[in-house]
């Protein structure tokens, strides 16, 4: 598990990038915390810098949109999903559980 930040540092509508071998984007979508791969599955762009609307994020480069709950693209130009990651909030702190294949 990786400490992301205090919940108070990520108010609703905000996002943060967690660096690592595979960077992860963590979002506060109207009070619910989601985490997905940060790099758009279409081309090199950081989804944590995208536009958050409900539980969808729009890529800041080419406007592909992803469902934060599933990682599935909702429109072109993205065709492949991004991975989702588990997050938990414990005592006001956001924790990221990276997908198993990244742990090693």
């Amino acid at each position: 598990m990786l400490r992301v930040c205090d919940l108070s540092q990520l108010p609703p509508g905000e996002s943060i990038r967690v660096d690592g071998p595979v960077p992860v984007a963590v979002f506060n979508a109207d009070g619910v915390i989601y985490a997905i791969d940060d790099t758009c599955s279409h081309q090199d762009a950081s989804l944590s810098e995208g536009w958050l609307e409900g539980c969808f994020v729009e890529c800041p480069l080419h406007a592909a949109s992803f469902d934060l709950r599933t990682g599935l693209p909702t429109c072109l130009p993205a065709k492949r999903p991004v991975r989702t990651h588990q997050v938990s909030v414990v005592d006001g702190v956001i924790w990221l559980h990276r997908a198993a294949q990244d742990v090693a």
Partner: protein, 379 residues
């Protein structure tokens, strides 16, 4: 309409074909493309592809499953040479297509240089074949001269610098990108000089010299710059010559109303070739957004929707992601609202009266994305 023919098989044409099916057109769909390739993405051609970090397969815009679902007849490597609306035919080099509706998406071709000649080592960059030829030539080059400091020229210069080549950029105007105004144009120009690329502005090119292969670029001040490879990036000309005499109104491209309708029943135009409501836009995003509106109007056979996208483009140069949105005038006031030009990391906003009308960012995507949404919708 029983048959609709999309002429042009790049991003705008493909997007139009997708929209036709998405909006319920279930007739015969023909797609004509003069390149032999399946639709591919052009922006990487001047960047990762030229650098050798992306290959042809990485650029594909469609896959077999999508092409199957589109149920289109693809005529690739086929040149459309005319449009005969009275007969209801698109004229091809090797025959005709009988059609009821036409989507014109023929894009644009690179402008040539007066006195360019026919020397080896001189390139333009528009197609994947252009990019393959240039990439192969760069493998043997040391000195590259880029003519034109617009976005294609700047991206090629950046890629050549990353390949360790000696690069000179020539720009006829006193500064590159004059449309951005003095301060922001200087910010873009500085990226070249920051990375050891020589930028000569206010210098016209009068010719090229060499025997079979280019050796020198001759300048208007009487001097010359040595070159193993020359890349010409001085803009594009909309591909409309095949429409001469067809009755389709031509000006700076195909002249369309705000809904992409080209003055005649059942003909619309999209992408780089289309001058829509007085604006011809050569950006990737435009080619993906216009077709929805154009197809809607085509299928409705009337103007039911106008294009209202705010122009947006991005460019990656020297590790800096440049993003711009809006339409700005020299009289607009521009102000840096975050970061600093010196750090090559900033957001600038253009204001007209009390409205924001344009946003430019260097490596400031998040704020750019937010501010872009506050711009007025273009009409």
């Amino acid at each position: 309409m029983k048959t609709i023919t999309v002429v042009g098989a790049s991003l705008a044409g493909l997007s139009a074909a997708r929209e036709l099916r998405a909006q319920g057109f279930d007739g015969r769909l023909v797609i004509v493309g003069d390149e032999p390739h399946q639709p591919y993405d052009r922006p990487p051609l001047s960047k990762d592809f030229l650098l050798g970090r992306a290959e042809e397969a990485d650029l594909a815009l469609t896959d077999a499953a999508e092409r199957c679902a589109l149920e289109a007849e693809w005529l690739l490597g086929v040149h459309a040479s005319g449009l005969d609306l009275a007969a209801g035919e698109v004229v091809l080099d090797n025959g005709t297509v009988r059609t009821d509706g036409v989507v014109i998406a023929t894009g644009a071709r690179p402008r040539m240089l007066a006195g360019q000649g026919n020397l080896n080592g001189v390139h333009t960059l528009r197609t994947i074949d252009d990019a393959l030829a240039l990439r192969a030539d760069l493998d043997r080059a040391e000195r590259v001269v880029v003519v034109g400091a617009g976005f294609i020229g700047a991206e090629v210069a950046s890629t050549c610098a990353a390949r360790g080549l000696n690069v000179t950029v020539l720009e006829a105007a006193p500064k590159p990108l004059p449309g951005l105004g003095d301060e922001m144009a200087s910010a873009c120009a500085s990226l070249h000089t920051d990375h050891g690329v020589r930028l000569l502005c206010g210098t016209g090119v009068v010719g090229l010299s060499g025997d079979h292969r280019v050796r020198e670029v001759l300048l208007s001040d009487g001097s010359a710059v040595e070159a193993d490879v020359v890349v010409i990036g001085v803009g594009v000309i909309p591909t409309t010559s095949w429409l001469q005499g067809s009755g389709v109104p031509l000006g700076n491209g195909v002249v369309c109303d705000p809904g992409c309708r080209a003055g005649l029943a059942n003909v619309v135009a999209v992408g780089d070739v289309a001058s829509v409501g007085g604006h011809r836009v050569e950006h990737w995003t435009n080619a993906t957004r216009q077709p929805r509106v154009a197809v809607r109007n085509l299928l409705a056979d009337s103007l039911v929707e106008s294009c209202a996208e705010t122009p947006y483009f991005w460019s990656d140069q020297y590790g800096v992601r440049i993003q711009f949105a809006g339409r700005v005038l020299p009289s607009d006031k521009v102000e840096v609202v975050e970061g600093s030009i010196e750090d090559r990391s900033f957001v600038a906003v253009w204001r007209r009266e009390n409205s924001d009308v344009g946003v430019l960012a260097f490596n400031h995507t998040k704020t750019f994305t937010r501010l872009r949404r506050t711009l007025p919708r273009a009409v």
